[in-house]
Amino acid sequence: MRRYALRRVAQIVPVMLFIAIVNFLIIHLAPGDPAAALAGEGAPQEFIEALRVDYGLDKPLIEQLGVYLGTLLQGDLGYSFAYRRPVVEVIVERLPATLLLVLGSQIPAIVLGTLLGAFSARHYPSKIDSIVTGVSLSLYAMPIFWSGLLLILIFAVTLRWLPASGMFSFTAPPDGIGRVIDIAQHMVLPATALFLYSLPQYVRLTRASVIDIMREDFITTARAIGYSENVVFLKHALRNAMLPAVTVAGLSLSFVFAGALLTETVFGWPGLGRLMYEGVLKRDYPILMGVFLVTSALVLIVGILTDLIYATLDPRVSYE
């Protein structure tokens, strides 16, 4: 187990190296001066020249790559001219908002999605099951930025129940319970959008895996022994079907981040995704590269953690 864990962790190195090289190549493929691209739009000439020296952009390509990787290793993701701050600082500041949104939407989505999927599978095949499947397919086909706009249209514009964008209001108290309530109110709509986007994934997966497991021999055996259908379902089928749902929760993080990017853009939620959008608007390439690098690292780390949890939960997983 320990060796397996170490090997999984060691796999981070080539992947991150690959991502760094992709960043490097894109900068060099961009039309015009790589130093200007590294600086982002609106940077003054002196800054561009300083970057050229710092990154050795007048040296051979392979040496430039070495310098670039060296600066990344020191935790330096560059300097954003639009924000007048190092990219790392801006990203670290935005990360909590994204994590809050992701946790606030994914925990309910996993719990409800698994329950709904299992419920649907329990009633398979029936009208109820068809309805659950139909609804989750329709939700699955809704682009998240559109469902976000609809939520704004219904709950913020028409009903005026909730704020449409941002994370705080200026009139709210700066700390204490008042601030918590204020943030929670702002979070309801974006978290709902992200919840509706992820829910069908969990419903479909749990439903499929429960239905498949209900056909296994050990279920037939349990039924033959005379256990009631509820016991068979809860104790045998559901427990075994939970494992894949747990894995998908971790493995689909890259899907969740993509959803978060678009949700944060629609709702002006000040997280990493909104930062990426601002980077696009301002042509702030260091920010775009930095966010890409950091989200890739997060996706990788969570993927590895999920694998390790899975390996601990399921003794059949081989460590080879």
């Binding site: 080539p14 992947v15 397919l137 699955y140 559109w146 449409a164 678009l262 390439y285 996706v299 990788l300």
Partner: protein, 305 residues
């Protein structure tokens, strides 16, 4: 010597017979496939939705009431003259929706076809030969599958341009690893089958074996995956256009949403219809994809992950 030639001739005959059998099996397979697909009401509904979008897009010049780039009074609500209203610049939304289907379908088919071609080749060849090259390639798919793709695509498009053909290529070239992974797994099992072994023994060279015997018989799950990839390409194009990274020379559904998002309060009709259009196409693709998967693997209750 003669014995050897006889053996080869016999193997050749066996090989030909196997091929003939295969062709017949495949012909029956296609008919059975269609019959089983049509037996699923959801899949048929999906095919109809897909057909609706396709026919509308093809007949755009006939169906669209106006040129999608022509200007009218901006922000007009729904009326007899403009059935879906006009956008903040003054374009007729209905005409934009009708023409926009072309862009979405171009992304669906273009990106998925590119991903299919690259994925099949890069999955089948290394998988067939095995060894170090195969190891390196399969590591590469795994690595690539872990990357948050939308962030990469945004980075590339923001830096290198948003020309429609370029973006189709970018999406296609970031999607192929999942096809390659499926193809490789198929190759590993199919390679062991009798008819492939017979072809190898008959001295057929590797590339014809791969593309005439192995790939056609392992293509089905890759095709099922391709319907998913089509949906992903449509969604990604809409997302990019929504973020303002669309090709300005094209009309697309995501661009209407991008133009309308600032007018949700004053002109809510702008954002309703393009979303419904995207949903129709995606629902069609998902239902067809589920239908195809279920035909290929009838034991599967829902279809896919």
């Amino acid at each position: 010597m003669i014995a050897a030639e006889e053996t080869i001739a016999r193997l050749d005959d066996e090989h030909l017979a196997a091929m003939e059998g295969l062709r017949r099996a495949r012909a029956v397979g296609v008919r059975a496939f269609i019959a089983r697909f049509l037996a699923q009401p959801f899949a048929v509904a999906g095919a109809l939705l897909l057909g609706l979008v396709t026919v509308t897009a093809v007949l755009a010049p006939v169906l669209a009431p106006y040129d999608p780039f022509s200007l009218h009074r901006p922000l007009q609500p729904v009326s007899g003259a403009h059935l879906l209203g006009t956008d903040p610049i003054g374009h007729d939304i209905l005409s934009m929706i009708i023409w926009g289907g072309r862009v979405s379908l171009a992304f669906a088919f273009g990106a998925a076809a590119l991903s299919l071609a690259v994925g099949v080749v890069l999955g089948a060849i290394p998988g067939y030969f095995g060894g170090v090259v195969d190891d390196i390639f399969s590591r590469f798919f795994e690595t690539f599958l872990d990357i948050p793709r939308l962030f990469l695509i945004i980075l590339i498009v923001a830096l290198l341009g948003s020309n429609i053909l370029f973006v189709i290529a970018v999406i296609g070239l970031t999607m192929w690893p999942s096809n390659a992974k499926i193809m490789r797994a198929q190759v590993l099992t199919i390679k062991k089958r009798g008819y492939v072994q017979a072809a190898i023994a008959a001295g057929v060279s590797p590339l014809p074996i791969i593309f005439r015997h192995v790939v056609p018989n392992g293509l089905a799950p890759v095709i099922a995956n391709s319907t998913l990839q089509m949906a992903y390409a449509v969604l990604t194009e809409a997302g990019l256009s929504f973020l303002g990274l669309g090709d300005v020379n094209q009309v697309s559904w995501g661009q209407i949403l991008n133009a309308g998002q600032g007018y949700v309060r004053s002109a809510p009709w702008i954002v309703i219809s393009p979303g419904l259009a995207i949903m129709t196409l995606l629902l069609g693709l998902h239902l067809v994809g589920d239908g195809v998967t279920r035909v290929l693997n009838p034991r599967l209750s829902l279809g896919r992950e």
